[in-house]
Subunit: 180 residues, 2 copies
């Protein structure tokens, strides 16, 4: 299906409460463990999502509208979240995510985007020309890719505990890890 602003905003609106319902006050064993060397914990994922809310989605939307293809987006630093999350609890990071998302959705509504705006283009540092529509669809799908990752990180902690049932649990065989 095509991206529609209505569907995208609906999903973006649901994500903070989804992550809070899943993760808030869950035992640390679920949320502070990773999938092995060089992989993220659930806390790392939320810190990364907060970093994207701060520096990526709406900033890029505004660059498309103000500068078009005249300059590429500043690249996203996928390691920068570590510093900003230093010493914060998961509950604090979830609270931050909820607040950042609310602010960004307010900023998005304030743009009062029209169908023609969605076809406007910017310049991605790696991909070249991309549309505002693709950026907004990616924002929503990025929520889903990290919900997918979080469920996989958590399931990984029970990979031995489930015994032979691991054969029936697709999440334990997921190879859909995000590219670096």
């Amino acid at each position: 299906m095509e991206q529609t602003l209505h569907q995208t905003v609906a999903l973006l609106t649901h994500t903070p409460a989804t992550l809070s319902a899943l993760l808030r006050d869950l035992p640390n064993a679920w949320t502070s463990a990773d999938e092995g060397p060089e992989t993220w914990t659930v806390l790392d994922v939320i810190a990364h999502m907060n970093h994207c809310e701060r520096t990526d989605w709406m900033r890029r939307a505004k660059i498309i509208l103000s500068s078009g293809e005249t300059q590429p987006f500043p690249p996203l630093n996928r390691a920068a979240h570590t510093e900003a999350s230093q010493g914060k609890s998961l509950n604090q990071l979830l609270e931050e995510f909820s607040q950042l998302r609310t602010e960004n959705l307010q900023a998005l509504r304030a743009l009062d985007l029209q169908p023609a705006d969605l076809e406007r283009r910017g310049l991605h540092p790696a991909f070249g020309p991309v549309t505002l529509s693709q950026l907004l669809a990616t924002w929503a799908t990025h929520d889903l890719t990290h919900l997918h990752q979080i469920s996989r990180i958590m399931a990984h902690q029970y990979r031995d505990a489930v015994g032979p049932w691991s054969a029936y649990l697709g999440v334990l065989r997921c190879s859909g890890h995000s590219a670096p």
Copy 2:
């Protein structure tokens, strides 16, 4: 990590609110679409989870405690959910899930399981001997495998809309589908 009852129950307790926060009142385009022929919609997934709450987890736990390895569990019918969900809305199915899960967690607590109980065995129709501990760990991981699947089904709807960003979105390359 080992299964602990505390961690398992914590996750099982969080799932109904997680699914409701993610899915309730979301536009149908997200929840009534599948990933292609012979695949499930989000509504199918919730109907299947309800079927498992009704006929699988606690029934099998009680069989382990009452009959041990003397008789195999009745096999789970993975197609049976279709009938029970006929004509029901997603919001209704989410409500049912929440109620069934609450009842099952009450029944689990009423068993007052001790560490030695968790090592008791039953007979799985395909795997042979399994422990109560493995069954309970699988119950929690089954929630995660379907949260993983739901995020993948939804992301699939935007696979074209994201344009070149699909290269960075791991959920669009997930091959962790549950075995039949």
